[in-house]
């Protein structure tokens, strides 16, 4: 082999190694399907009543990946659509779905009693938890996660809707905020991120 060819051979080898290494790095830093909020949003912290009437806090869910969502049961479209998408995502996880809890915090504690919440979350699956606080507890928690909500004017029958931010916060098993989802995110994308988060914790 001539020295020129040897040099070319060495050069090609170096380029290949660089390419392989580069690809490996790419795979490790593959972006999340949801928005990365690590270090931006406060860790999981709350003190509320669950659908069985028991007082729970963030420590009750340590060791599990937690999805936090604010909504209300009289919401016919957006809330069940979001919770339904999360239920589909959990179905895609198989047995790992048990490592996840979806915490549904009501922004309408006046109508969402413990009993109403229990029926409601049961309709979506065993991983779904209904949480409620009084008005000030709910407000405090919504401020922590910058969730806006407001009760709209009631109609003649006294029915009202509640406008609210439609965000899904994802916390890892240690309670650190990691990802943010919304109503546009599909079940497959959410499942893919949850799998990655579960396997890395």
């Amino acid at each position: 082999m001539s020295s020129i060819m040897k040099a070319r051979h060495r050069w090609l080898t170096l380029v290949s190694i660089a390419l392989v290494a580069g690809l490996a790095a790419c795979q490790q830093q593959k972006p999340w399907a949801l928005r990365d909020i690590s270090g931006i949003v406060a860790p999981l912290e709350f003190h509320l009543t669950n659908q069985d009437g028991r007082t729970v806090d963030a420590s009750s869910y340590r060791g599990r990946t937690v999805l936090l969502y604010f909504g209300y049961t009289h919401c016919p479209d957006v809330c069940p659509t979001t919770l339904g998408t999360l239920a589909l995502a959990l179905n895609r996880l198989g047995p790992d779905a048990d490592k996840v809890r979806v915490l549904f915090v009501t922004v309408d504690p006046a109508r969402d009693t413990v009993a109403v919440l229990k029926q409601y979350v049961n309709a979506f699956g065993p991983q779904f938890v209904g949480l409620r606080g009084n008005d000030s507890e709910t407000e405090e928690l919504s401020r922590r996660y910058r969730i806006a909500y407001s009760r709209e004017n009631p109609d003649r029958q006294g029915n009202y809707t509640v406008a609210h931010s439609n965000a899904v916060f994802v916390f890892d098993a240690k309670g650190n905020a990691r990802l943010l989802g919304g109503s546009d995110d599909k079940a497959d994308a959410i499942a893919q991120d949850l799998k990655r988060l579960i396997s890395s914790s």
Binding site: T73, H74, P76, D77, V78, P80, T81, L83, G84, T85, A87, L88, V116, Q119, Y120, N122, A123, F124, G125, A148, Y149, S150, E152, Q157, N159, T161, A163, H164, S165, N166, S183
Partner: protein, 167 residues
């Protein structure tokens, strides 16, 4: 919902002669034809197709959402004005939308549809808000809902009840 059944009148045979019975029959016949004509005019169906009509079931008496795909197959524009159903005391037409970072619902009075146009009532967008069930519903039930259009037109559609996680 418009009732279009024609009640058969009770017959009296006690002292009827053949002639009076004949007169009665002709009279009833004319009345029936008139009634049919009135019914046809009142429920003239627009040239539309509806597909994928479904209701997402939630527990208790929580308001439900009804979704469907509607196509204007005719040559005339029309307006979808709303819906009614014997299964719900109240139905509103809504659009979910985002305002100031919050999801909210707008009440929609009417949606105009041009010939050939498709309108999707779909999660996160347009939906029928179905309130106050007349009786409890179950997954796989078929629920009749009448869609109301401009020009005094309407269309009866069967909606299939699906689970809470359905889209």
């Amino acid at each position: 919902m418009m009732q279009c059944s024609i009640e058969p009148r009770r017959r009296f045979f006690s002292t009827n002669t053949l002639r009076s019975r004949l007169r009665y029959t002709i009279g009833a016949g004319i009345a029936a034809i008139l009634a049919l004509f009135v019914c046809t005019a009142a429920t003239a169906a627009p040239e539309v197709t509806v597909k994928n009509a479904r209701i997402r079931l939630l527990p208790g008496d929580l308001p439900l959402a009804g979704y469907f795909d509607l196509v204007n197959e005719g040559k005339q524009p029309f307006t979808l004005l709303g819906a009614s159903s014997p299964a719900f005391k109240m139905i509103h037409m809504h659009l979910s939308t985002e305002q100031n970072g919050k999801s909210t619902m707008l009440t929609i009075e009417g949606i105009e549809m041009n010939p050939g146009e498709t309108l999707r009532f779909t999660p996160g967008g347009y939906h029928l808000m179905l309130m106050q069930r007349v009786k409890p519903l179950q997954v796989d039930d078929q629920v009749p809902i009448t869609l109301k259009f401009s020009g005094n037109q309407s269309l009866d559609v069967m909606f299939k009840v699906q689970g809470a996680e359905s889209q």
